[in-house]
Symmetry: C2
Subunit: 214 residues, 2 copies
């Protein structure tokens, strides 16, 4: 049975993207620093057609976060800038060019209908009836494999709050963003805590894994 995993990089003050997100700055001001640990890894670079890179304890965390993925779920803001209807001329086809790095079906939670978009071996499906429906469809598509909830904060909050996330992987980076999207806002009413599974110390980041209680 497919499990749902959420992994995200988070600042010490709890933000998963910086303030003032835009098409030019999809991660907001300062948000790119959250992902330096991963974009500098040889394991990540290989999957994104780039050479070189590091091998350090973050490699293990990266592999744990990404193993056995059969489908992904993401929010509208992770797929593209918003809000509002999808632009048609030119169409917005994601941040990743013609060969997105997912290689599995991706379910995008949005208020706006759109036909599926196939780019190389990744098909984006646009789901307008909410996070739970998107996760349900992703589980079906994943079969025996797991579903990766890719982000952003809003979709993750809804999924965590509804008890739909089995495993939570946080890569905690010691920067302060001071604004942006805060991961755990509005979640505490329904979720009181998690069981700690492991933590991995790596250069400039600590990777924390938690499991849903109950």
């Amino acid at each position: 049975m497919a499990e749902v995993r959420f992994r995200i990089s988070i600042s010490l003050d709890g933000y998963t993207a910086g303030p003032n997100q835009s098409a030019e700055q999809p991660l907001g001001e300062g948000g790119e620093d959250l992902h330096e640990w991963v974009t500098s890894l040889a394991a990540w670079r290989e999957g994104h057609g780039r050479e070189g890179g590091d091998d350090n304890p973050s490699t293990e965390a990266f592999e744990i976060q990404n193993r056995n993925i059969g489908a992904q779920v993401m929010g509208r803001n992770m797929f593209g800038p918003g809000p509002g209807p999808w632009p048609e001329d030119p169409p917005w086809n994601g941040w990743w060019g013609d060969d997105p790095p997912f290689h599995v079906p991706v379910f995008v939670v949005t208020h706006h209908e759109r036909e599926p978009l196939e780019l190389t071996d990744t098909t984006f499906h646009f789901v307008t009836d909410g996070v739970e429906a998107a996760i349900g469809r992703a589980k079906e598509a994943a079969g025996d494999r797991d579903v990766l909830l890719a982000g952003g904060a809003n979709v993750a909050q809804q999924a965590i709050g509804a008890g739909l996330v089995d495993e939570l992987h946080l890569s905690l980076v010691p920067i302060l963003l001071g604004g942006g999207e805060r991961l755990f806002d509005g979640v505490a009413d329904s979720v009181k805590g998690f069981e700690q599974v492991r933590s991995i110390e790596a250069p400039g980041v600590t990777h924390l894994t938690y499991r849903r209680l109950g």
Copy 2:
């Protein structure tokens, strides 16, 4: 030369105490769960006149956090409920009874003047001219040893924001408090980040050490 260390337990959503702090609930609703890792340690219990307890990787973190302390600094809310002038009948002498567990001079940052209070081998000094002054006096009292900034969030924010904290020790507990005092609010304007020194994985908690950049 004395260094200034700040150590605090923090929830996954960034709070160092729960909502609705009071004399009956000095850590706020749910806040006691932040400290279970330490109050269950044999090393802590011994220092607080209690028997039994655990020995696990948290012991090492506890010893690192508390080694070589020559003086402490704390905020008014950590010493007692507030705000307002000190009550006189009966006087408020802290949460810890007649034998407080500090055994070094403690400098309490407050808006309200008060004579020093000596309880067994701990003397509380009440400092009305701000956090920087309190840390200065604590450094003087500590001599060759270090100053521990004990909390709470407000005093810590001021000290971190002013670049007065050399080492930051966070014990990250995977609970969600949903409200209360948030450690890093208002700090990001002056501090952009920290250097990660180490992290220690322990049962139900990860201990993170950071150092001030620059």
